[in-house]
């Protein structure tokens, strides 16, 4: 159990940057990826803004064979392929089209639903009595494991290949699962991440729940406002994040660059009891998860330099801060510096956790803390609890060692990961 797990490769497709260099520039400079969405307007949504990555579909020809590219339609799968293969190459690996499976390397890649636009096409054809014309390429794109299957097959991954799904906790849960497989000696290396496509059907249903931003349709870049007094719901986002995790010795033996170390984490459920429900967390479960993540990682609350929150810009923001306060306890000198990537990219649902983990790894490697944008009017109830100073509104260049990253999802699912700067101390 003394195995150490490190992050050696990163890939990202985000509303404010496709590819690590663009994404890094965007999060350091507080660049919003939220734009007006004319389709949402045409469909009479309350919310008419969203975060959609700038994505050149033909660019995928550099990632998959011509035969695979022909007939590929699932946007979420496309994002996953780009993010995952970029992470793989970033870790110093090559794309081998042939050869034996990599038995030591597995994959955990998550999503909420498969691409509903592809599902819609199937439904339309079947209902028009043209099922015969569907062909062989649609099932692989509507099966929940589609993204994972494309990615692992392209790389020849031969260890566990798993598709996880835990709503908005999916991405960080995938990272934690990959971490655990390596920690427990079941794999040497895991490609982990998650993907989400911002399609109108899923977000139409969220719109109906009245949980999306609707008061900033004319000023899209201001629409995602976690912890702000004027926060009025989250902004639909989409994209994919991917990380290559490796056992430290395995990574060092091949001379890999280490972005960060993962010390541990925790994943639980509040059981939808004692205030928890399908859509709201049982606070006791959240606090237990955050505490267990620290315990499992052998860190104390004082060690936490930065909190990368879930913080979506809903009523739940203040509850989340309250839960962090409870989990950290009374021994801390001050509440850790806290940020929410969602202020720049909206809420990418299943992809949120993995994209945010990519941001955390970059913050640790390059030693900065990305800003919270749209926080010129901090929520007074939150300020009363921890003050306004803990929420940076410009990029901070300072030494950071330990970052806690949490996500919470429908179904009362909680995940927290503890990342740290990698120190070669044997």
């Amino acid at each position: 159990m003394n195995r150490r797990v490190v992050v050696t490769g990163l890939g990202v497709v985000a509303p404010n940057g496709t590819g690590v260099p663009d994404f890094l520039h965007a999060i350091q400079n507080g660049v919003s990826g939220i734009r007006f969405n004319p389709q949402y307007e045409a469909l009479n949504f309350h919310c008419q803004v969203s975060g959609i990555p700038v994505f050149d579909w033909d660019h995928l020809k550099n990632y998959v064979t011509e035969v695979t590219f022909h007939g590929l339609k699932g946007q979420g799968i496309g994002y996953a392929i780009k993010a995952a293969l970029d992470a793989w190459k970033d870790a110093g690996n090559t794309l081998q089209p042939e050869g034996d499976p990599l038995w030591d390397t597995g994959c955990v890649f998550g999503n909420s639903v498969s691409d509903t636009v592809v599902i819609k096409d199937i439904i339309a054809r079947v209902d028009a009595k043209a099922a015969k014309k569907l062909g062989s390429r649609v099932i692989e794109q509507v099966m929940n494991s589609g993204a994972t299957a494309y990615v692992s097959g392209r790389l020849g991954l031969g260890n566990k290949v798993i598709t996880n799904s835990a709503a908005c906790a999916t991405g960080s849960q995938a990272v934690l699962m990959g971490f655990e497989y390596i920690k427990f000696g079941l794999a040497k290396r895991m490609l982990v991440g998650s993907t989400e496509h911002v399609d109108p059907y899923i977000f139409g249903a969220f719109d109906s729940m009245r949980v999306l931003s609707r008061k900033f349709n004319d000023t899209p870049e201001q629409a995602s406002r976690p912890m702000s007094a004027t926060a009025g719901g989250f902004v639909p986002g989409s994209g994919a994040g991917a990380l290559v995790l490796e056992e430290l010795d395995f990574a060092l033996a091949r001379g890999a660059t280490v972005y960060a170390e993962i010390l541990g984490g925790a994943n639980n459920s509040g059981g939808q009891r004692n205030g928890g429900s399908m859509t709201a967390p049982n606070n006791e479960g959240v606090i237990k998860c955050l505490k267990e993540a620290m315990t499992n990682s052998n860190v104390t609350p004082k060690d936490i330099d930065v909190i990368s929150g879930h913080l979506t810009a809903t009523m739940a923001d203040k509850m989340e801060i309250r839960n962090w306060i409870a989990a950290l306890g009374n021994d801390i000198n001050r509440f850790p510096v806290t940020n929410s990537l969602k202020s720049m990219i909206g809420h990418c649902l299943s992809a949120a956790g993995s994209v945010e983990c990519v941001a955390v790894a970059l913050e640790i490697f390059h030693q900065f803390i990305h800003p919270n944008i749209n926080m010129e009017d901090p929520n007074p109830e939150i300020v009363d609890m921890v003050g306004a100073d803990v929420f940076p509104t410009t990029c901070l260049r300072q030494k950071i060692n330990v970052v806690a990253k949490a996500n919470f999802g429908f179904g009362d699912i909680n995940t927290c990961l503890i990342f740290s700067k990698y120190e070669n101390n044997g």
């Binding site: 064979t65 011509e66 035969v67 022909h70 007939g71 014309k133 062909g135 062989s136």
Partner: protein, 89 residues
């Protein structure tokens, strides 16, 4: 596209097959004996896509029993010609 000779059908078939094979050299030199799976390395699952595309291109319908015989370029051409003729009757 009422009548087509064998060569025309073969030229059209080459376009139908193109998206499903990485082996462009073999595609350029196909003849009646070329096997779709062995020679062109086409994934067996894609044969159904080729049949669907061929139905559109030649404006014909290929039934399941006929489709099962389409393993070589020669058998493809024979079945396509047969279905085109049936349609003219």
């Amino acid at each position: 596209m009422k009548t087509m000779d064998k060569q025309t059908i073969l030229d059209e078939l080459r376009k139908v097959l193109a998206p499903y094979t990485e082996n462009k050299e073999a595609l350029n030199t196909i003849n009646e004996h070329t096997n779709l799976i062995k020679d062109l390395k086409i994934n067996s699952a894609n044969i159904i896509d080729i049949i669907i595309d061929a139905e559109t291109r030649y404006d014909i319908e290929i039934d399941v029993d006929s489709a099962e015989k389409m393993s070589s370029v020669g058998s493809c051409i024979a079945i396509i010609m047969e279905k085109m003729q049936e349609k003219q009757c």
